[in-house]
């Protein structure tokens, strides 16, 4: 007897395909939803059934709660998996599913609501003994308050505008001597920028790492973590390379952070899968940031080292089963890295790229996994987040995982839109990355003056083009095909025998 009759996947692209694969493993039929922009998308055809839910604008399709509930009703689904993004952390949607007696494969609406309120959840976690970045919660007219908080937090500290953002009204202060002038300067700047001179002080973290813990909790009172993911390599404040284990954690620190993550889960009354995010500073102090009440983009690296299928666990937990025995005893085995393949120009400030995928090819081999939402002929439109795929590798050591990733990225081919594979390969090859010294501003720090031109080898590209052109001429007798190949012509995988003997 299957856990659910049928599951609707309220998402698109690679994560929808990923969830459908887990459903298939469990013998549960799936329903895709798709917008106008996704008429030809992979996720639509990966499902057993699909329902059109409206125009390309997310508001009128993937974010439209009523349309998604209706699609679930008309197709006879008794559960909905939200993936990540879109409605995945929307407590109103979670409540609506409950009212409609459809299982929402996520935490309870109450937990989503609590953890969605960053101020309230941090206060609740703080009273449960979870460490927060020390600092003031609100502005004060009294400089003595700033002094006291700064002394307690320890220098350096940062002054931030309460109304703020964009660096305005922000000042890093390295000693008590500079504090008074910095507070006044920040007030003036904040007043000019936001019309409000409220500023507060908190501890400034030098080169922090982004470390998160995967948590699982079931409705039988079991709560556990599945170790960490290090997600410090970011561009545009968005992760692009993640790995596990983190080079920064000793067994003691891992244990302490893991226990804290479980405390967070229990304090929130959490069920299902989630992620507890921390910042870790250079001296090994960690601070709770927030909980993502959903599956993470980078969940596959945890799956690689633990052998757990997180989506299968999510579905089982949502159906009322306890966390699997094999998951409860999971350990960290080897090292895993994920590189996100976005449609973006790695050589031009990660500028998004759109267009048609003219050619698509995935690498394969032991320890290589590709989660993809595209195939040849797919359109990358400007309507959605431009993630196309994720390449995940697993190897016995970090060094081998880095080498395997370089090979996997070189064998991963997507033509027609730009990508940042080369940039990511250069990050993996950087001596500081090899040493494991990663932090959230790694790219700004080490790649500010990147010059790709030095590595361009146009003659190799011409050699391949010349042979391709000759081959086309030989087959078609013309200058080469100008038509797009269909997926059927290009989906077949090559596996062996491409080296010249």
């Amino acid at each position: 007897m299957a856990l659910f009759k049928k599951i609707l996947v309220a998402n698109r692209s690679e994560i929808a395909v990923r969830v459908m694969n887990a459903c298939r493993t469990l013998g549960i039929p799936t329903v895709a939803v798709y917008s106008d922009a996704d008429v030809k998308s992979k996720h639509r055809f990966w499902a057993d059934e699909s329902v059109h839910i409206g125009p390309s604008s997310p508001r009128e399709s993937y974010l439209d709660i009523d349309k998604i509930i209706r699609a679930a009703r008309t197709t006879g689904c008794d559960a909905i998996h939200p993936g990540y993004g879109f409605l995945s952390e929307n407590p109103i949607f979670a409540q609506k599913c409950r009212d409609e007696k459809i299982t929402f494969i996520c935490p309870s609406p109450e937990a989503i609501k609590l953890l969605g309120n960053k101020v309230e959840s941090r206060m609740k976690m703080s009273s449960a003994g979870v460490p927060l970045i020390p600092g003031m919660k609100t502005s004060s007219p009294d400089l003595a308050v700033y002094r006291k908080v700064a002394d307690e937090a320890g220098y350096p500290v940062i002054i931030k505008a309460a109304a703020g953002g964009g660096g305005k009204g922000m000042r890093v202060v390295h000693s008590a001597r500079e504090l008074e002038e910095a507070v006044s300067a920040a007030r003036r700047e904040a007043l000019n920028a936001f019309g409000d001179d409220s500023v507060y002080v908190e501890k400034y973290l030098v080169n922090p790492r982004h470390i998160e813990f995967q948590i699982l909790a079931d409705s039988h009172g079991n709560a556990m973590h599945l170790f960490e993911r290090e997600c410090s390599i970011q561009r545009r404040h968005q992760k692009i390379i993640e790995e596990t284990p983190s080079t920064a954690l000793t067994p003691e620190l891992r244990k302490k952070m893991g226990e804290t993550a479980v405390t967070v889960a229990k304090t929130a009354g959490y069920t299902n899968a989630g992620t507890v995010e921390f910042l870790l500073d250079e001296s090994g102090h960690f601070y709770f940031l927030e909980v993502n009440t959903r599956l993470q983009v980078e969940h596959p690296i945890t799956e690689a080292v633990t052998g757990v299928d997180l989506v299968v666990e999510q579905i089982q937990i949502a159906a009322g089963l306890p966390i699997s025995e094999s998951t409860r005893t999971a350990t960290q085995r080897g090292h895993a890295i994920e590189c996100r393949i976005y449609a973006e120009d790695g050589e031009n400030n990660f500028f998004p790229s759109s267009g048609t995928i003219l050619y698509y090819h995935e690498p394969s081999g032991p320890g290589i996994r590709v989660d993809s939402g595209i195939w040849t002929g797919s359109e990358i439109t400007i309507d959605y987040d431009p993630i196309m795929a994720k390449v995940i590798v697993h190897a016995p050591t970090r060094e081998l995982a880095i080498a395997k990733m370089r090979e996997a990225l070189n064998a991963y081919k997507v033509l027609g839109v730009r990508n940042a594979k080369k940039f990511m390969i250069d990050i993996l090859a950087h001596p500081e990355f090899a040493e494991g010294r990663t932090f959230t501003s790694f790219i700004e720090t080490h790649f500010a003056n990147r010059a790709e031109n030095a590595t361009r080898a146009g003659d190799l590209a011409v050699a391949a083009t010349a042979v391709f052109g000759e081959h086309q001429t030989a087959i078609f007798g013309g200058a080469g095909s100008t038509e797009l190949p269909t997926p059927w012509e290009t989906l077949g995988s090559w596996q062996v025998g491409w080296s010249i003997g």
Binding site: F351, K413, L415, G416, K421, D459, A461, A464, E470, W498
Partner: protein, 173 residues
């Protein structure tokens, strides 16, 4: 490869990164040999669009596809756009404005968020000129040459395509 039959020898000019390469192509049994300048590469076709290239002691996997008159190529994760030299004289614009440093285009359709310069401004290479929003993200477009702002065709809030320039410059070479 000694004794292999040479099917055919052909010479073609290709342009990539604004450099013309003359490629001499011949096939010995199943192996292609391409000579460019003083280098010779050995290639074997893996599938319709995939080629294994031997370059001295190193091996690369290349993917190639042709769309209109451009060959899109990935070798070792570096992306190239290659054209046959004879195609270039007869071809028009295909939305590739990479040669026009005096015109600032949006690389994809989007919305102008902010124009960062005014007509008459002296600008330096890499100076941010305009911010365009597409795919939920704000993207800054920088000058690719030194010069002066000549005309600005759009205002903040306007939708832009990729066919009309947002800003035109008088470039100082």
């Amino acid at each position: 490869m000694a004794g292999g039959m040479v099917n055919r020898v052909k010479q073609t000019d290709y342009i990539v990164d604004a450099i013309t390469h003359t490629a001499r192509t011949e096939k010995h049994e199943e192996v292609w040999r391409v000579t460019i300048g003083d280098k010779t590469f050995e290639l074997i076709q893996v599938s319709q669009h995939l080629f294994s290239i031997r370059n001295g002691a190193s091996q690369s996997l290349a993917a190639v596809i042709r769309h209109k008159d451009t060959y899109f190529v990935d070798v070792d994760s570096v992306l190239y756009e290659v054209r046959q030299a004879t195609d270039i004289a007869v071809s028009g614009s295909h939305g590739d404005h990479s040669g026009e440093k005096d015109k600032i285009f949006a690389p994809m359709p989007g919305k102008v968020v902010k124009i960062l310069v005014s007509v008459g401004d002296e600008i330096v290479e890499k100076q941010p000129l305009v911010i365009v929003e597409a795919m939920k993200m704000e993207n800054q477009i920088n000058a690719r040459a030194r010069g002066r702002v000549k005309t600005i065709h759009f205002n903040a809030g306007d939708q832009v395509g990729t066919d009309l320039p947002i800003i035109e410059l008088d470039v100082v070479e």
